[in-house]
Symmetry: C2
Subunit: 326 residues, 2 copies
């Protein structure tokens, strides 16, 4: 197909340049400060004998998920999941027709549904994320992902992960880093698919979570998801989560919103060479452009203080050749 008509020339050019591309671990990143800073950081901490060398066991890199590794607009994917689950479960809950936040969701009025803010979110989570076993929830998430499509791109959500960030994850792992997700999203929601999509195993995923209860049902042990918050992995909850789950300060942290501020702060305040990076959504054409006043992924304090802390601010439009996974 490639060799038909004019594109054959382009194709040939691509083939010639392919070996160069194949050698570039960050092929989807345009040359510039962001890419150079990442490459220099990794070169420094992995160079044996150098004063900045860090042994592999201490090479921990933490990544926010929503807006950093995959698309978080126009609503968080986990909220889209919750809304779809409410619609499915509504048949067994006739009272939901008259009760917010369910009523709004069933009527297609999301703003009305979420008017009470955290209370509404709490009720949605309780109705869709608790009362089942961890195994049952896992299966429900995977089943949903098979058919759910993003409203703007009409693609499965797991295809809307950022190709440059996938390359960055792989590049860090190839250099002895252990890559973690540290996200405000629900840990069990992410664990269902993150190993397949990002190559990050369940034990390297830190997120918000509810309490669990161990019990024996029909002679078999199960773990039930309870409607009680256990850990809120957002803002100052991120360094707390890092200490709880990893117990070691990361060398590098990657985020996109002010919810990642303390994670970046904690990481880059450590001794020696550290890397902090913020993905700035600047590409309204290929994805979204938002920052200081956005309800989702608000980035204000981070933009103000990035240079003080020496954090890289990635300009998505300028720095990334492609946005979504190939």
């Amino acid at each position: 197909m490639c060799f038909r008509n004019f594109s054959a020339i382009a194709c040939l050019a691509l083939m010639i340049s392919a070996p160069v591309c194949a050698d570039d671990p960050l092929a989807s990143w345009n040359d510039g400060t962001s890419k150079t800073s990442i490459l220099q950081f990794v070169a420094k901490v992995t160079k044996e004998g150098s004063p900045e060398y860090v042994p592999p066991a201490e090479r921990i890199a933490v990544f926010d998920n929503d807006g950093t590794l995959w698309c978080e607009q126009p609503i968080y994917v986990q909220l889209a999941f919750s809304i779809d689950r409410i619609r499915v479960l509504a048949a067994s809950h006739p009272d939901w027709k008259e009760k917010q936040p369910f009523k709004g969701i069933l009527q297609g009025n999301l703003i009305g549904a979420l008017a009470s803010g955290e209370t509404a979110i709490g009720e949605l989570i309780e109705a869709t994320h608790t009362g089942m076993t961890t195994d049952e929830f896992h299966t429900t998430v995977l089943e949903w992902l098979k058919t759910a499509r993003h409203p703007k791109f009409n693609r499965p959500y797991t295809e809307l992960v950022y190709q440059p960030m996938l390359e960055l994850l792989g590049f860090l792992r190839a250099n002895g880093f252990k890559t973690y997700i540290v996200s405000g999203g629900g840990v069990e929601f992410m664990r269902a698919w993150a190993e397949t999509v990002y190559g990050i195993p369940p034990e390297q995923i830190i997120g918000s979570s509810g309490k669990l209860k161990y019990e024996i049902r029909d002679g078999k042990p199960i773990l039930i998801k309870l409607p009680e918050l256990d850990h809120l992995d957002e803002g100052p909850g991120k360094p707390v989560g890092i200490q709880k789950f990893i117990g070691r300060r990361p060398l590098a942290a990657f985020g996109n919103s002010d919810g990642d501020f303390q994670m970046l702060e904690w990481t880059t305040a450590g001794a020696g060479t550290r890397l902090g990076l913020i993905v700035h959504h600047t590409d309204a054409e290929r994805e979204w452009a938002y920052d200081r006043v956005s309800h989702i992924g608000k980035l204000d304090k981070g933009l103000n203080e990035a240079s003080t802390h020496g954090w890289i601010v990635v300009d998505m439009k300028r720095d990334w050749k492609t946005i979504f996974r190939d």
Copy 2:
């Protein structure tokens, strides 16, 4: 030294047999059911193409610590640490002379000090494990370990780890297993030394923990240990901890007391080939002999139900050639 007098013959015999020993990954285990069961389990799950094969990413092994990896008698090591800390800190707390549990500890009356049970333990933990940063606590534990000695063996506590279990940890890791500690002990206490002693990094240590608070002090971020329980990693708290921190059911679990019962139950109730193992303390001469009525490491239900669940019960006296690390 070895070549003087009669022991030269024994030494020579040892040298001749050394190559054979070096090939045995569990050299400190006597031949018998326990050793054979471990070897067979690992052979099964690592044999590619076999129906029992398990990919490396899913090879998770969880180990209790106190009484399973190191000596827990005559009192838990962490309690010995707390007692020594109370003595050090007493100078700044004159009121402790008249107040339990501190009074009893300062007078050398441990039974009196701990008469109120969990309340006393809670006050000891609060006084010795909270109010400082995670980094400060880490340093305090390491400093203490340098000089503290076990009352019976007069050796540093970190030398009183079980040689057969160290070999087992190494054998599992050599076969692609990720080894975790899942202990009722404090997570930050264990993280201070477990990487050096067991080769288990901080992120693979699950234990009981208090809440943490992130704050900025003198312009630098710190994490403060608060006097509020976050996770109790004991009994049913062990499978809960496994799901919270690992998110995947282990293939193998190793414990020694009824506090490990649910961890063994959860592990071996999983599909496919699993391994559950209990270390039974039967060696009053080389270590301690205790089980059903012991205040520390009580093992009653586990002994009753081990055969029903197919768990191996290691007879320390019979199964282990040596007890402590070489």
